[in-house]
């Protein structure tokens, strides 16, 4: 069995590790390096500028707008998705067909979702204004993506719309493993459905909910594709839908400020990591073990 073991291992691992090193590891490491330079992609040797890029970030109105909007998304989207998904998962108990339907948006590319919803929000021929007129709410018609106060909310609704189904399936699968007899015992002791949900179901499925918080928190710090495709500008109107990822993309590939864009990437990385760790901490609970 020992014969040729190392030859096999080297042969098997060299290609995947080379691929990973060249396309994943080296760019990540280079990003930390570039973030301290003012490289514009043309000069042969990037000039070291220390912490200048990070200082600029704090006075860059566009980056701060992106930070604010991602922050708002972080407050709204995970909470909304988890609340809706928990309610629907509890309600779909015994009727699986709904889950099959709810899950479908999860399979669509975020780019396709963005194009679809751009049509939905279109002022004159869109689904939303058409629906409002159809039920006599003509005064509610809006140019949804053209009004600075509404545009970001419209983007968040799309994010919620496309995420809920996945968590309905995740949570309802977890709920099915909650033993019936505990629920029945609680009901006999006089617990109403709300108490049963809060005191029994939720603690027993908490691990899934925790996963949801972290994934959705990370997703809320992105939003690039939806904003880039759906909104005017993109990032408009009046930068009301600017997100950090869009700022990075524009800084790098429209303005050629690759050093500064890398600093944005580093900032996004540390933010994402801190939010993930924070959410992990905040949502930590005593793990409930079923004997």
């Amino acid at each position: 069995m020992r014969h040729g073991k190392y030859r096999f291992l080297v042969g098997a691992l060299i290609v995947p590790l080379a691929l990973y090193g060249v396309f994943v590891l080296s760019p990540y490491l280079q990003a930390f390096q570039l973030a301290f330079t003012n490289w514009n992609g043309v000069d042969s040797a990037p000039e070291f500028t220390g912490l200048d890029n990070f200082g600029r970030l704090w006075s860059d109105p566009l980056f701060l707008a992106g930070l604010r909007h991602n922050g708002l998304m972080l407050l709204v989207v995970p909470l909304a998705v988890i609340a809706i998904a928990l309610a629907l998962a509890a309600a779909t108990k015994g009727t699986r067909v709904y889950r099959v339907v709810y899950f479908f948006p999860q399979l669509l590319s975020v780019a396709i979702i963005a194009v679809l919803w751009q049509f939905v929000y279109t002022p004159n021929s869109g689904l939303l204004n058409g629906a409002l007129s159809a039920v006599g709410l003509d005064s509610w018609r809006r140019s949804w993506l053209a009004e600075p106060d509404l545009a970001l909310w419209c983007v968040m609704i799309v994010l919620i719309w496309s995420s809920v189904g996945f968590y309905v399936v995740l949570f309802s699968a977890a709920m099915e493993s909650v033993p019936e007899d505990i629920v029945e015992a609680a009901a006999i002791d006089g617990a109403g459905p709300v108490t049963v949900f809060r005191r029994i179901t939720l603690p027993l499925i908490w691990e899934s909910v925790q996963v949801g918080w972290i994934y959705l928190g990370i997703a809320a710090l992105d939003g690039f594709a939806l904003v880039q495709i759906m909104t005017v500008g993109p990032g408009g109107p009046d930068n009301s839908t600017e997100v950090m990822g869009l700022g990075l993309y524009r800084t790098a590939f429209a303005f050629g400020k690759f050093g500064y864009a890398s600093a944005m990437g580093v900032a996004i990385f540390f933010l994402t990591l801190s939010i993930a760790v924070l959410l992990l901490r905040v949502t930590k609970r005593e793990r409930v073990e079923l004997a």
Partner: protein, 269 residues
């Protein structure tokens, strides 16, 4: 009970209505779309679909996507399974180090790598090529694939492999003929997970694939929608959108149970 069903139906309507509406609109004329977004078309205009397929290049984008996603998926599964197997079943110096190095790739947002990645791909002359995208896709899908399959290969019994070694099988032979077939359930789950992840890529092709002839579907469709040209052909764009959705819908109809199980088990890992 009543309220419960009303709520369930309401969300089902919210999910399906935009999709059904896009399907319906793909058969209408531009005038019909503008005048009354809610009424069905006077007749089914399939020429919208053929226009989207040919003139708007949706057919070409679909072909590009199949080549890139197919190639990347095959490469990811082969390399991911091989790596996970070696790390899970062989003792050698550096084993843990390599494993954690690979798995650490899952922690970083792609945005961080974006700028240097662009230049790495550019310097290798791979910008806007099929094989360039395939290599990058596979590299970024590798960490999760290895992480998922590592646990799977660990849990497989060792007796069968030992018997095969005694019978004189080579290391590669044991992997391909004995262990890989036993890992099939895990391969299916992670394969579905990867397929959808790769199929839905937007950020990577947006940056690394600037050649319109090589656009993948999501990218091409978004490009059509964002560019000014679309205002002249709404119905064609609706048709393109529906063509892009249909393959996934069909796959879901046939494999919905496996797909949901594959995706959710991936999340809980």
């Amino acid at each position: 009970m009543r309220i419960k069903h009303a709520v369930l139906t309401l969300w089902a309507a919210l999910v399906t209505l935009p999709l059904l509406w896009a399907f319906m609109s793909s058969f209408k004329t531009d005038a019909e779309i503008f005048d009354s977004p809610w009424t069905p078309p006077a007749e089914l205009r399939f020429d919208n679909w053929s226009r989207a397929w040919d003139q708007a290049s949706i057919g070409q984008y679909l072909l590009n996507t199949l080549i890139v996603v197919g190639g990347a998926l095959a490469l990811t599964m082969l390399l991911g399974a091989l790596t996970a197997y070696c790390l899970a079943r062989y003792e050698f110096p550096g084993n843990r180090f390599i494993y954690y190095l690979l798995v650490a790739g899952m922690l970083f947002p792609v945005f961080l790598a974006l700028v240097p990645l662009f230049f790495v791909v550019d310097n290798l002359g791979l910008l806007g090529t099929y094989h360039g995208l395939i290599l990058v896709y596979a590299a970024y899908a590798l960490p999760f694939t290895v992480f998922f399959l590592h646990g799977f290969f660990r849990s497989l019994p060792g007796a069968v492999a030992e018997a095969a070694f005694i019978d004189g099988a080579s290391h590669a032979g044991v992997f391909f003929k004995v262990m890989l077939p036993m890992a099939r359930p895990g391969m299916v789950s992670v394969g579905i997970f990867n397929f959808l992840g790769l199929w839905n890529q937007y950020l990577l092709p947006k940056v690394l694939n600037p050649d319109p002839d090589h656009y993948v579907l999501a990218q091409g469709l978004a490009e059509l929608a964002v560019s000014q040209g679309y205002r002249s052909d709404w119905s064609g764009l609706f048709a393109g959108l529906v063509i892009a959705i249909l393959p996934v819908l069909l796959a879901y109809v046939f494999f919905q149970r496996q797909i949901r199980a594959g995706l959710t088990s991936g999340a809980l890992k």
